[in-house]
Amino acid sequence: MHASQLTTPPSERRFWLMVALGGLLVLLALGAAHYMETSGHIVTGMNNHVVWGLPHVFAIFLVVAASGVLNVASIGSVFGKADYKARAPLSGLLCVAMLAGGLTVLSLDLGRPERVIIAATTYNFTSVFAWNMFMYSGMFAIVALYLWTLMDRRMNPLSKKVGLVAFVWRLVLTTCTGSIFAFLVAREGYGSALLAPMFIVMSFAWGLAVFHLVQSVIFAWNGLPLPDHVHRRMSRLLGVFVAAVLYLVAMHHLTNLYFARNVDFERFILLDGGVYPTLFWAGFVVAGSVIPLLLIYARGFGRQRDTLLASALVVAGAFCALYVLIVGGQAWPLNLLPGASVHSTFYDGQIAPYAPSLPELLLGLGGIAVAFLITTIGIQVFDFLPRDVSRPASAEGQAR
């Protein structure tokens, strides 16, 4: 055999390197989950007062962004935009990959992960959580069908109808995810119907940011230029979504501030709650929203690398926002007797402690690694690379 035939091409080497990296992270996550299962959650930072911690931040980010990343396909199939239609398969693949990553984290964080089959087969339909299980499994099936209609010429005529079903399904799915918190009656940080639309808009922004990151990497590694008009369209859409998230988050806090009973909680989360206000203002508002908006819209910015940085910042801001919402919301004590201060050995009237642990971080990163592996293998095995049709100059002008 000739020596040159033995040499692995660079792209293939890169593929196996990425698979190895993703695989290693998944193995570490499985090790962390096994450690948590055998030793109990005592080895995590979670406790009886902050029962959902860092794994849930990762899981909910992945699930919410999974729904939002499908927006790209919906704009193509449902609203007929050609630039987005070319990206629909990649959008579907990312949706399935992130959903799988998020559910992996959620399942492995359970106190009894071996009983996940009970969760998949026994539904209490008054539970928002059970609705979510139903919606997640349905989402896999619908997106798989959708990908089939997109990638098989014989099935192409059905793609618009299935795309519409997927569009509606994911809106309901994210409504359900937001409702996990919206339907909690006694927690001051939650219990607002505004959380459902807020989660939907968050999914739009976070999903599109992830899409930008993945698309940029794929184009760069394949040595393909991302057409300017596509970049401009998608980056401006990201800007609109980021601004909308900021608006809804502001409305959520303003509503709470208007209700006298929630003012103390707002003071905690926005001003004097230590890590939570820092993450909210510096992480979510400034780094995750204002700077990305400047990178997209400000004069002298708006180039592809600016959008890439903006997308990465939006993702980082998303983690900060979820940490504040999920952990901060639990850290604030329940108000057992309005008008009275309460103390006990069970942290009544006290800020609950929480410090994320390494097993939690590894489990969360494992969820991202699962999504990364599915995406990497999917792109390598199937044809998910967006193919842009070159546009005439007049159309270029319209896109501006």
């Binding site: 106190g111 969760a119 008054t126 057992l336 007797l337 201060s341 009544d348």
Partner: protein, 264 residues
């Protein structure tokens, strides 16, 4: 101390006083005391017998289904509850095999809360446990139905179908649920628990089904916890609820809790 133990104690005291009275030169006061105790014994005995009969009637035969004819509840009289007393918590821990530790990952099925009213400065001490709501949020949110409410109003967790998602812990307005964070040893046969599952006050269902009172109610030295059937207008708890002002924690949530408080 149980009612029966208290009765036995009183009887022994009466006998001792009567023996004292028989001694030559015994004081008239001792004689009067013995007479009063004997009279009290005669008057109380039928009542005590009635309580025993009622307890026996409340006992559920093996295999007999629970019905909604009863609604078990408790009335906690905080005016009799001392901040220095922790007997109900100790009794609960002993009965259910809890460690009694109070770290952030330890289970606490019942805890004493110390309340201070901001406007008046009044302080109150009270035990808080699962409030056994008629409309329990923990049951609503449980994805597998492991959190459930028995027909008689007792809210429980099925340890076989709890997946340990902790959504019920998040949903409970009373912080009444705990998650078992580490492997358990030396469990009580009547109270199975499990690492990775959620748990909370069972209202000592194993005792209630035998016609006994929950451990916390029985242990209270001041008799501040009255346990009984809220559906029975003649039960001690129902009579007491009619007679005195009672309230429920987070009444605004309208969860129709089975635990009521006096003096909050």
């Amino acid at each position: 101390m149980s009612e029966r133990d208290q009765t036995n104690g009183k009887a022994a005291q009466a006998t001792a006083q009567a023996q004292e009275a028989k001694r030559p030169g015994a004081s008239r006061r001792a004689l009067l005391g013995a007479g009063t105790a004997a009279l009290a014994g005669v008057l109380l005995a039928p009542g005590i017998r009635l309580i025993e009969i009622a307890g026996a009637q409340m006992q559920r035969a093996p295999g007999e289904p629970v019905t909604d004819k009863v609604r078990w509840g408790m009335l906690i009289d905080t005016t009799r509850c001392s901040p220095d007393c922790n007997e109900c918590v100790k009794a609960c821990n002993t009965e259910n095999g809890l460690s009694g530790r109070t770290g952030p990952t330890d289970s606490q099925w019942i805890r004493k809360i110390e309340i201070k009213y901001e406007r008046t400065g009044r302080t109150v001490s009270a035990p808080v446990m699962c409030q056994h709501c008629a409309k329990p949020p923990c049951v609503d949110v449980c994805p597998t139905g492991a959190s459930f409410k028995r027909a008689d109003g007792i809210v429980l967790v099925d340890r076989h179908s709890c997946i340990g998602c902790r959504y019920c812990v998040l949903a409970c307005p009373y912080k009444a649920r705990s998650f078992v964070h580490e492997p358990l040893t030396e469990q009580k046969p009547d109270v199975p628990r499990g690492k990775g599952c959620v748990e909370g006050c069972t209202m000592c269902v194993h005792r209630v089904d035998r016609g006994q009172q929950p451990a916390c109610a029985e242990s209270c030295p001041e008799g501040a916890i009255t346990f009984g059937d809220l559906n029975d207008p003649e039960s001690a708890i129902s009579r007491r609820v009619r007679e005195i002002a009672t309230t429920r924690i987070r009444e605004d949530l309208r969860l129709d809790t089975g635990i009521r408080y006096h003096g909050l």
